[in-house]
Every structure is written in C-alpha cells, then in structure tokens.
Amino acid sequence: MAERMFVQGNEAVGWGALYAGCDGFFGYPITPQNEVTQWFASEFPKRGKVFLQSQSEVGSINMLYGGAAAGFRVMTSTSSPGWGLMQETISHCVAAELPCIIVLVQRGGPGAGSIRHAQMDYISVTRGGGQGGYKNIVLAPASVQEIHDLVQLAFYLADKYRNPTIVLADGILGQVSESVDVKTIDFGPLNEKDWALRGIGKQKDGKCRLINSAAGVLPVPPYPNYISWLRHMDEKYKQMEADELRYETYKAEDAELILIAYGYTARVSKETVNMARLQGLKVGLIRPITAWPFPYDIIREKAIQGCKFLVVVDSLGLLIEDVKIAVESRADVGLVSILDRHLPTDGGMIMPGRVFEEVKRLI
C-alpha cells in the first residue's frame, strides 16, 4: 500500500531508505543536503534504527565500510566537498566488495565552490573518483518520486553486486517538494550475506570471516592471486554494464535534435522539448537514469540516424565527454552549460528559455 506524501527531495531520500529496509545512516552536516541528515536524526532512532552524526565525511564512509561488512544496509549522504573526502574509502568498499549507498547532492565547485545547486561531480562519480580505478553504478533521479524509487533500487543493486551504489542528485532536486507515493518496491530476491562478519558463533558453518581490501597483498578466497581477483572485478563491472543500463527517451522517436541531460537540467530540458514541439520543431530528450553505465548505444544509434545533440548540464561540460564518446564524431554536439545560467551568481539556473534559444540556433 502506497502512502501519498508531499515531501522535499532531501526527505524523499529518507523515505526511500526506510522503505528499502535501511538499518543505519551515518552522516556529517553539509549544505545543501542537511535535510537528509536531519530526517534520519528524527525518524530513525524512534524506529529502532541507527542514526549517527560522524566526526567528518571520512568518518561517515568508514562507518559504512564497517556497517556493510557486518551485513547491514547502510548509507550516507553528502555534498560535493564531502564526496571528495570519501573517495579513498569508496575505493576500499569496492575492493572489499561491501555494498553501501552514498547519496551525493551536488553543489557548485571546485573547492568550497558554492553551497547551492550544480552538476560538477559527474566525472569523479562515473569514473571511480578514488585510487585504483573502479566502477560504481550511478543512479541519477530527476524528480522527488524518482529519488524515493532510486534510493530503493540503489540498495538492491548494491547488495546484488556487493558494490557501493551512488545516487546522484543536486541542490535543486534536494530542495524541491513534490507529491510522492511512498512504498516498498520489490526488486526480487537477493543472496543471503553469508560473507558478513557476525562473530563465529553466529556463522552457520562456524568458520571465521575475513574482509580486507588488499587482494594483491593477501589473496581473497576463492581468488588465488591478484590478477584472478581483478578478472573477477572486471567481469562484475561488465555485468553491471550489460544488465543495469537505464535511461528515459522523451519524444526522441522522430527527433532531429536530441537533448542529453540528467537530474534537474533534464527537467529543464523536457520543458524545452515541449516548447519546441509546440512550434513544430522535432526535438527530443535522452535522459540517462544510470550515469554509469551510460547509454552510449542509443545515442550512437541516433547519431547514425543523423540526429544532432545538445548537452544541457550545470557544469563546464563534463557530461559532454560521454556524449562525444557515444557519437564517435558522427554528429555535432552542442552544449548549454553553467555559463548559460540566468544569473551570474550561485543562485543562477539553466532555464528552458535559454536552452530553447540554443535549440533554435542548432536545428
């Protein structure tokens, strides 16, 4: 039974996590995601679940490392500077194959940047931002409902692959309020976490478990050496690419120009598509729901059909690199970026009118 609620995007993170069976939230204050932490502080303890304010984002992510190793569903939320701090242990989580969720409510950068919305962490999120090169599934919601839904999917995918999963939001999505159906989504059965640390007295086989992130130093059974373990990781990433790609197409069927955007700028772009269609212009949208794996094939297919592309992203580009990889020089790829905001301040946004100007210029 779904419960209908009118909630903020940041709060929808909490409702999604609660209905996904999250056991513990560990977080540190940072704008513009503070409502997430505050939601967990007020809603989790009274339900017998763990909320803990860490001493830093480094603390938060290492708490996830421990909580996940003990077999619990754990998560944190942060914004861009905190995301930077977490990179080392996200890499450790991948190496130790520990499932956990990191919600990243992006803000302006680089450095301390701004405390308001932006989409400037795309590369570090999709490429494995820490040491060693690795992959995380990145889910990019574009509405409050989708935040609720994708947080739940994130828990499922993290457990399925024993890998961290990232939910990539931004300051606008975090702050906006919309109606949401709150309910548990069933994604299917998962394997029991028989690898988790519980104390040998609680292990069914009575044998000890060892979890470490240094497979090249101390071999991790059943992998006899570093390269065989890396092969296993490579196969896992390839399976994620093959099975977990998600994207939305909107009026893209007959489009001559296709907008590519995720998150809040995807909402702006959809509005632009509607404006263009009213004037008879054949414009559509492809919205990656997984920023990694990225929908290269559908974009390439459209490029082969002769479509042009316009990337709409609230950064200096970043996303355009993936689109260029997809089209393989077959099509022009334009860009509406953070430099096209309606105000030259941290409060400026990319508006549908500005995107539409660029659409008319390109088509």
Binding site: G24, L210, N212
Partner: protein, 254 residues
C-alpha cells in the same frame, strides 16, 4: 611425544591459543618483534573470557594487521587509520558483538587521530589495543607520533628534534582525559610480570565493554628490532631503560 588426535584433545597447557589457526599461517614478523606476543595476550583473553564467538576484530594498517591470516575470529581489515570508524558502526548496528580494534601507534595517533578522538568523544562501547613500537615498522622505520626525542628514524636521520617534529604523544593519558573513556592503561611485554599485568589490563578493558560502560583503551609497548637496529635482547633493555620512563606503565583510568 605422539602428535595424534588423543594428544591434541587433552587440556592445552602450552602451545598456541585455540583461536589461532593450526598452523597459524604466515606470522609475518621479524625475530624479536613483540607484536605476536600481544596478539597472544588478546587471544588468551578472548578465550578465557569466553567471548571469541561474539568477537569482531577491526584492524588498522601496519604490522599488527598481519594477525588477520593467523587467527580464526571474524576480522575486518580497514583503510589506514579508520578502524575506529568502522568499529563504531559495527557496534552500533550489532550491540551484542564484542567489537575491538587492533591498531599501531601511527595508525591510531597520526592518520587515525580524527577517528580516535571521534570514538572517544562519543564514548563508543568498543575496545582498542594499540601497539606502540615508537615508529612505523611496516614501511621501514619512519617517525611516528610516539618516537622518542633523539630517536633516529629513517625520516629523522639526526634524531627526533622537538623543535621540528614535536614531542611524543602519550596515548593512554590522552585517552583517559575523555569522559567517554572508562578505562585506559599502558602495559608492556618486556618481562613475564609485565606480560601478566598487560593481560590483566586487556581483560579489564573487555570487561568494561561487556558492562556497556564506554570506550576502553590499552596501549602496549612493543619491540621493533630491525628498525631500532638493536638485537632482541637489547630491544628489551631499551624498553626498560628508555621507553618505560617516557611511557610509564600503569592503569591511568578505571
């Protein structure tokens, strides 16, 4: 003596602790290193208190962490300095577990200082055993927060100069200063008498966790012959003559 099943089933009066693998795998320690002695104390305590089935050990990074291949209790090996963060989450999520960290002085006091202070500030109901060998053993004997004034290391080739590298950190005293810490002690394994005292400290520390009172901390001095450039016997002499005067052995709190 026959080494058959009958012999092994008899009461263990000497030999390895039961929770050590048989054989205990590659104990990757240098001759005269006292880390395995401290491992042994922890193992004996877990057995004698009958808590090894609930125990989850959280390791830092350093020579102390090699125990992971040798004992058969649930163990998590962490990012460098972060054991107390990971231990915090495990204990909060699974309060029935006996959660303890094994860390070196560099892991706990340098790169892990934030996690250490955080855990004590919150009074986490976990236990830390910190091995203090006054240098970074694994990486070749560099300056640690615990390095003595004048001690030569590979990164203080002229000896630790307080004007440049500051003063040794006394972790057990620091820990005792936090209200969230309910037990803090410093022991050593340089003599049978001190071995017994250190074991008593570690036992008390675990008891405080079982009683749910707060954070418990035991620092144990450990010899590092190759990086001190001393024979094992001279290492023990150094601990007695130079290190214990700087790091006095006692129960500081609790």
């Amino acid at each position: 003596m026959k080494n058959d099943e009958n012999t092994r089933k008899k009461e263990l009066v000497c030999g390895n602790p039961r929770i050590w693998k048989d054989p205990p795998g590659a104990m990757m320690y240098c001759s005269g290193c006292q880390h395995p002695v401290i491992h042994r104390i922890i193992s004996e305590v877990l057995e004698e208190m009958d808590i090894y089935e609930e125990a989850i050990c959280i390791l830092g990074v350093g020579c102390h962490a090699f125990i992971q291949v040798s004992w058969s209790i649930d163990t998590l090996s962490c990012a460098h300095g972060r054991a107390l963060d990971s231990a915090t989450a495990i204990k909060r999520l699974n309060p029935d577990a006996i959660v303890f960290t094994v860390q070196g002085d560099g892991d706990c006091l340098a790169i892990g200082a934030g996690a250490f202070i955080g855990a004590m500030t919150r009074g986490e109901r976990i236990t830390t055993i910190m091995y203090n060998n006054t240098n970074y053993g694994t990486t070749g004997g560099q300056l640690a927060p615990t390095t003595l004034i004048g001690q030569k290391t590979t990164t203080t080739p002229l000896g630790r100069n307080p004007k440049l590298e500051g003063y040794p950190v006394r972790a057990a005293e620091l820990a005792a200063d936090f209200e969230g810490t309910v037990y803090s002690a410093r022991g050593s394994v340089n003599s049978p008498a001190n071995y017994k005292r250190a074991k008593k400290y570690i036992k008390k520390a675990f008891q405080k966790q079982i009683d749910g009172l707060g954070y418990s901390f035991v620092e144990v001095l450990s010899a590092c012959p190759p990086n001190w450039h001393l024979s094992p016997v001279d290492c023990i002499k150094r601990i007695e003559e130079e290190i214990i005067p700087e790091f006095p052995l006692s129960e500081i709190k609790g």
